[in-house]
């Protein structure tokens, strides 16, 4: 197995962060006549360093997925800025945006709709390479390396996505994201659709790849235990705003913000006795909050 060339940024200690999101605002238009747009992100600021995992936690409607999509150029940026390595990348033209695909990649939640069902795994993985002018034989060699990295057999290239399980498909999606050695991968709930045992293995794969290649992750999820497992730092979103950012262990064990506490206390522990305690604590906390 050949060693992956580490990207330059990750070998040296960097002064500027890899990704900076600065007071980002995203509005979505509402269908219907003369309805005002909905503000999904209300001025988000955060940074991700090279080789770092920032976990982004929130419930449905918090805007966490939109933040990921804005960074990917898939959601319209209304205000604020996104900078990658010091360069402003929000509201780029189509062509410039395409050039950015080398650095920023994505793994989506649903492994069933994120792979084109009519294309073989080989086609799915070579596509990003061929559009950037790689030769076919180089692309095929790279695909074999990638499949090896995500622990899939080499004969996967000639098969269709439907022949794989959810976890295996997610490995294919990870391989696709890695094809051109990106600096940042936006992971949008990549393990939420997977079974428990598969979930743990895929998370370990993410960590293993990061340790080897120095890629950074923006890891979007609703699950505090997942975020705790994979993140260096954690940011908590609530209704389009960041309510808390900090070290993963701190945020997921002793959060400052009441919303994060509520989130933490609501997550059930797989142990009846400890869960009974956590439940009681949640009730006490709720009562205290209600009392003001």
């Amino acid at each position: 197995m050949s060693a992956q060339p580490m990207s330059a940024e990750s070998t040296s200690t960097v002064s500027a962060p890899l990704l900076t999101v600065d007071r980002l605002v995203v509005d979505y238009p509402v269908t219907g006549w003369r309805r005002p747009p909905v503000r999904v992100l209300k001025g988000i600021s955060l940074e991700i360093g090279a080789g770092e995992t920032l976990g982004l936690v929130g419930e449905s409607g918090s805007g966490k997925t939109t933040l990921g999509r804005a960074i990917l150029g898939l959601a319209p940026v209304t205000g604020g800025e996104i900078r990658l390595g010091g360069r402003v990348v929000s509201n780029l033209g189509r062509r410039e945006r395409r050039a950015l695909s080398r650095d920023v990649q994505v793994v989506f939640q649903d492994p069933y709709t994120s792979l084109n069902p009519a294309m073989t795994v080989g086609d799915i993985l070579t596509e990003p390479l061929l559009v950037t002018g790689s030769s076919r034989s180089d692309a095929q060699r790279r695909v074999r390396e990638l499949l090896d990295q995500v622990h899939l057999p080499a004969d996967a290239v000639s098969r269709l996505p439907r022949e794989f399980s959810g976890g295996q498909r997610q490995r294919i999606a990870i391989a696709r994201a890695l094809t051109r050695d990106p600096k940042l991968v936006v992971c949008d709930e990549p393990v939420s659709a997977l079974d428990l045992s598969t979930q743990a293995r895929v998370l370990d794969l993410f960590i293993e790849i990061q340790e080897r290649t120095g890629v950074a992750y923006l890891f979007v999820t609703h699950d505090l235990s997942v975020v705790r497992h994979i993140s260096h730092r954690v940011a908590v979103m609530y209704r389009g705003e960041l309510v808390e950012t900090g070290d993963a262990a701190a945020v997921t064990t002793a959060p400052d913000h009441p919303y994060t506490r509520r989130l933490l206390l609501a997550a059930p522990v797989p142990d009846p006795r400890r869960q009974a305690e956590r439940r009681a604590e949640r009730h006490r906390f709720a009562a205290a909050q209600a009392a003001g």
Binding site: V14, A50, F108, D110, G122, L196, S225, H229, P272, R274
Partner: protein
């Protein structure tokens, strides 16, 4: 999952063949379908006859000779002559030309307009979409023949012109089909992924969008060809076809004039039209099957029962579960199987046995495909109609559930066995108010009056923690949030005071804070009413929160069953241990990024953990 070995060059997979193998397979599948072959043969024959018309007859299709009007078959006129002495065989041959050319014009015009406009409108949306859709709606509001009459009134009789105009009128059909398939693809995550991968719009269009658009369009074209022939025949029948041009519709018109003198004249053009259009239509259906395009709802072969067939008694098995005195639900050797297309049966639940006592909460835990939901639905009698269910024993409060009639089962369901589904929004009927959905079962089972049912529903809504019961009672499902809808469904499940509650992943679709509240509610209601509960879930946290006993399922079997405390403290089965080991709750946090990054102050010697050996 094996690691790549150096096992030689990976055999197949030349990379550029995107959909080509699928397409080639489609042609082969099409040619294996006898109906498609017959249709194709007929259409090719018609085309060849039309092309070779001058060689096949020496007669002119338009030369009329009054002296030879209505001549019988034979001699110079193999099919006789029509009312003004034109040769029928020649008219049929040359008429085929007119029909085929006309339908090709329609298809060409409608594709030329509809395809690019549909692709552009679906892919770019925005203003172009708005304008194009408006024009399409305008065209669709026009009765086609009336428009054709206007055009013909103005420009004189011309079949080709009429067909070109008809192509414009029918283009919205192509436009809407293409647009909706493009929109559907565009929303697929794999198109987003392609965009993020740096593919240009043109390439995304070629590689991802067009392959999805082409099959339904091909099918539609085959139908358009048929429709065009019918419309053209209609115009010609009205006497508005091109003058001095043989046509099937014109032949019908002439036959109509002479219907009493020579009804046979009706036969030939009618046969030609009906067979050709049928061939196009059957070809379309065969293409649909060959291309594997969904859209045609599968044939309902047998009576589609609304109820699953009754559970069959499985003979010869000694009940393994010991008799429990206060048992509410007893399952013994439950098996569920589905017929496969090959004619065999695939069993998905292989002999599940369990007991739920009054006031007991049983957690049925497993990963996807473990058969846990199948088991729950078998108890409710809500499996799909093709399911075959058998059990050595299956009793609810002493009543044998096996072989129970649908009516008898309906008296138990809702009344004595309640059900809480997984997905709150899709489980409320969108067309009825929440109030009417709550009161209907109560009025049916308990014989309450409308007012009594309403009072009781409001009490229930209040009980499940809904702040403004009267407002929610009058609301439609789309007006309430997911958490609220789940409370409504719980209220519905307990509305007739059931003894047993079956909850299928009742909190999986909810946010974690809402989940906690909903689980609180289930626990309270269960304690309040001393219900037995079967809680199907994949989440050990949920199990730890509410369950008294736990049954762990894998591949259609229960691998371990124990009181909750004991199962978590001392799991016996290897699989249970593996599942519990996969939970991330107790793994240490990963810690700050070592050596690099934004926050030098956070550099800590925290080891990078990886969750145990794989």
């Amino acid at each position: 999952m094996s690691i790549l070995s150096d096992a030689g060059p990976a055999g197949p997979a030349p990379v550029d063949a995107v959909a080509a193998p699928a397409r080639a397979g489609a042609v082969r599948r099409l040619l294996r379908n006898p109906v498609a072959v017959v249709a194709l043969v007929w259409l090719v024959a018609v085309a060849v006859l039309a092309l070779l018309a001058p060689l096949l007859t020496s007669q002119s299709p338009t030369a009329s000779k009054i002296t030879e009007a209505l001549a019988p078959m034979g001699g110079d006129h193999p099919l006789g002559t029509d009312g003004v002495g034109r040769d029928v065989w020649a008219q049929l041959l040359y008429g085929a030309r007119t029909s085929l050319i006309g339908s090709l014009i329609v298809v060409a015009v409608s594709l030329l307009l509809g395809l690019p406009a549909g692709v552009l409108a679906g892919y770019r949306r925005g203003r172009f979409d708005a304008v194009a859709s408006w024009v399409a709606n305008l065209l669709m509001a026009l009765p086609a023949i009336i428009v054709l009459l206007v055009v013909l009134a103005q420009f004189g009789r011309s079949t080709a012109l009429a067909m070109a105009v008809f192509g414009v009128i029918i283009a919205p059909g192509v436009f809407r089909l293409v647009r909706s398939s493009v929109i559907a693809v565009r929303e697929e995550l794999y198109v987003d992924a392609a965009r993020v991968a740096g593919l240009s719009d043109a390439r995304i269009m070629r590689r991802h969008v067009l392959p999805v658009v082409v099959p339904p369009t091909v099918i539609q074209v085959s139908q358009l060809l048929g429709i065009a022939i019918v419309i053209q025949a209609g115009l010609e029948f009205l006497g508005l076809g091109s003058a001095n041009q043989a046509s099937w519709g014109g032949m019908l018109s002439d036959a109509f004039q002479n219907i009493y003198a020579q009804p046979r004249l009706l036969l030939w053009p009618a046969l030609a039209i009906v067979l050709t259009v049928t061939a196009f239509s059957l070809l379309g259906n065969a293409l649909r099957d060959a291309l594997g395009v969904s859209g045609r709802v599968p044939r309902v072969r047998r009576r589609q029962r609304t109820d699953a067939p009754p559970v069959v008694a499985a003979g010869g098995e000694v009940p393994a579960a010991p008799d429990v005195p206060d048992a509410l639900l007893v399952l013994d050797g439950l098996r569920v199987a589905y017929p496969t297309p090959e004619g065999t049966e695939r069993e998905v639940v292989h002999g599940v046995s369990l007991t739920v006592r009054r006031g007991e909460v049983l957690g049925l835990v497993g990963e996807s495909g473990s058969g846990k939901s199948q088991t729950a639905f078998a108890v409710l009698g809500l499996l799909p109609p093709q399911a075959r269910t058998s059990a050595a024993r299956m009793t609810f409060d002493g009543t044998d559930l096996r072989g129970l009639s649908p009516a008898a089962m309906n008296r138990l369901r809702g009344r004595r066995i309640g059900y809480i589904p997984q997905e709150p929004m899709s489980n409320l009927d969108p067309s009825f108010t929440i109030g009417s959905q709550l009161t209907e079962p109560m009025r049916h089972h308990l014989g309450l009056s409308k007012d009594e049912a309403r009072t009781r529903a409001l009490q229930l809504l209040d009980r499940v923690g809904i702040p403004d019961p009267a407002r929610v009672f009058a609301s439609y499902p789309h007006q309430v949030s997911g958490g609220m809808a789940q409370r409504v469904l719980i209220a519905g499940a307990v509305s007739c005071d059931p003894d047993l509650l079956i909850a299928d992943e009742p909190t999986t679709a909810l946010d974690v804070t809402v989940q906690a509240e909903v689980l609180d509610l289930v626990r309270e209601l269960q304690a309040e009413r001393q219900m037995g509960v079967v809680l199907v879930t994949h989440d050990f946290g949920v199990v730890a929160d509410v369950c008294d006993t736990v049954a762990v399922m894998r591949d259609g079997r229960i691998v371990e069953s124990a009181p909750a405390e004991r199962l978590f403290a001392d799991p016996q089965h290897e699989y249970t241990r593996m599942l519990l080991g996969s939970t991330l709750e107790d793994t240490p946090a990963r810690g700050a990024l070592a050596g690099a990054g934004l926050h030098p102050e956070e550099i800590a010697p925290a080891p990078l953990t990886s969750g145990g050996p794989r």
